[in-house]
Subunit: 236 residues, 2 copies
């Protein structure tokens, strides 16, 4: 019988040397066959007692020290030849975490972060899985408020635009972007401004939280999507 594993693609944003934001993700060095010594998406075999999304949440916690801010099922990958030496079907989740959360998180042995557009050769079909997660993320940016998954509770319009630019991989006109976001009805001006050294510190926004951020994936009544496991949690 094929084995069953749960893996998670965890995206965050980090500035490159010019200060422009880039997508990054963590990989874990394998310490056993197959693909011993290669980097792979964090995850592992599904245990008898663990819900799918609980396994993905645990992976996220073990890899980054974080609770999920955004976590959704991506796809089940099960082609015959993806794992040499024994069939493995992987149910893959994807998660977004804010950069300021990572900074506070613990260091984790055998984990390294890579720029999404400069990944090493990953074990199994994990490069293809990342490619698919990227296409889902880009697609979802176009019609949802998923950008919030990368941001703190409040953010400037420029920070929000940087998220869009990093994910979509192209520069956006600041004026058009601001008009589009302000007319979307998703944002609320907090009345506060970014504390800093600027002469005119920029306005801070937050998302209108009367609509839930998390995509429940399947029906919210399913127990694996219990409020407990999926709800956003503040990390101080």
């Amino acid at each position: 019988m094929p084995e069953l594993a749960v893996s998670t693609v965890i995206f965050t944003l980090r500035p490159d040397e010019t200060g422009a934001m880039q997508l990054w993700l963590p990989a874990v060095k394998r310490i056993r066959s197959p693909f011993d010594g290669m980097w792979a998406l964090p995850g592992g075999p599904l245990s008898e007692e663990e819900d799918l999304i609980a396994a993905a949440s645990r992976t996220l916690l073990e890899t980054t020290g974080l609770k999920p801010r955004y976590l959704e099922q991506l796809y089940a990958f099960g082609s015959l030849e993806r794992s040499p030496g024994g069939r493995v079907v992987s149910i893959v989740y994807w998660a977004l975490v804010a950069q300021n959360e990572i900074a506070d998180a613990y260091e984790c042995e055998n984990v390294s972060w890579f720029a999404a557009d400069n990944l090493p050769n990953l074990a199994f079909d994990h490069n293809l899985i990342v490619e698919y997660a990227l296409s889902r993320l880009r697609n979802k940016m176009e019609y949802s408020r998923i950008a919030h998954g990368f941001l703190g509770d409040t953010f400037t319009m420029a920070q929000l635009r940087e998220v869009y630019e990093a994910v979509l991989g192209r520069a956006l006109d600041p004026g058009n972007f601001r008009r589009e976001m302000e007319s979307s009805g998703d944002l609320v001006a907090t009345g506060e401004r970014l504390i800093g050294t600027k002469h005119r510190p920029p306005q801070l926004y937050k998302y209108d939280t009367s609509v839930d951020l998390t995509d429940q994936g399947a029906l919210p009544t399913f127990s694996e999507h219990s409020a407990n496991s999926i709800k956003r949690e503040k990390t101080a």
Copy 2:
């Protein structure tokens, strides 16, 4: 270790007693525990040698005698309590078949068709799975050409509208619908008309097939989405 199964939600349209189209789907009577004697979605354990989508295609063939016209991965369902007496994770696909195909298909023992809004209590969490498949279908009708999966190669504007009305569950204004469809750029007038007894037989349309109908789900380069297993096939 949890067991792994592949099940498929197969939708078609049938006229009700007033002639209005309704969504129907087949279920298979279980002949073993758990849920012995109850109706369930067609499917079964994943074998070591079968790709996920190949298993879904086979299920479709065994249940309806048909090759997939539209087939896509829906979701992996894996909550702990969904199967009494042993953990089962089900990777669920969904498929659309045209009513005129079904008419030619063989009868299959232990299979019955039910109106989607009048299902019996199904085994496992299969009622919830159908509900989720319905929400995906309705959502996808709004932005894709998935309606084609229910239709023959050519169809009238009224037949296309009937598909939308059946799936969305509400009446649509014929004039507005025609204008919207004609402006979408997806349809091509064949120049032919429906053969029948009417004084003014309606125009026949087809979809512009320069764009592929099937949603490859994940990346098309994955072997489990080989042209062989997913491509549309005419049934004479």
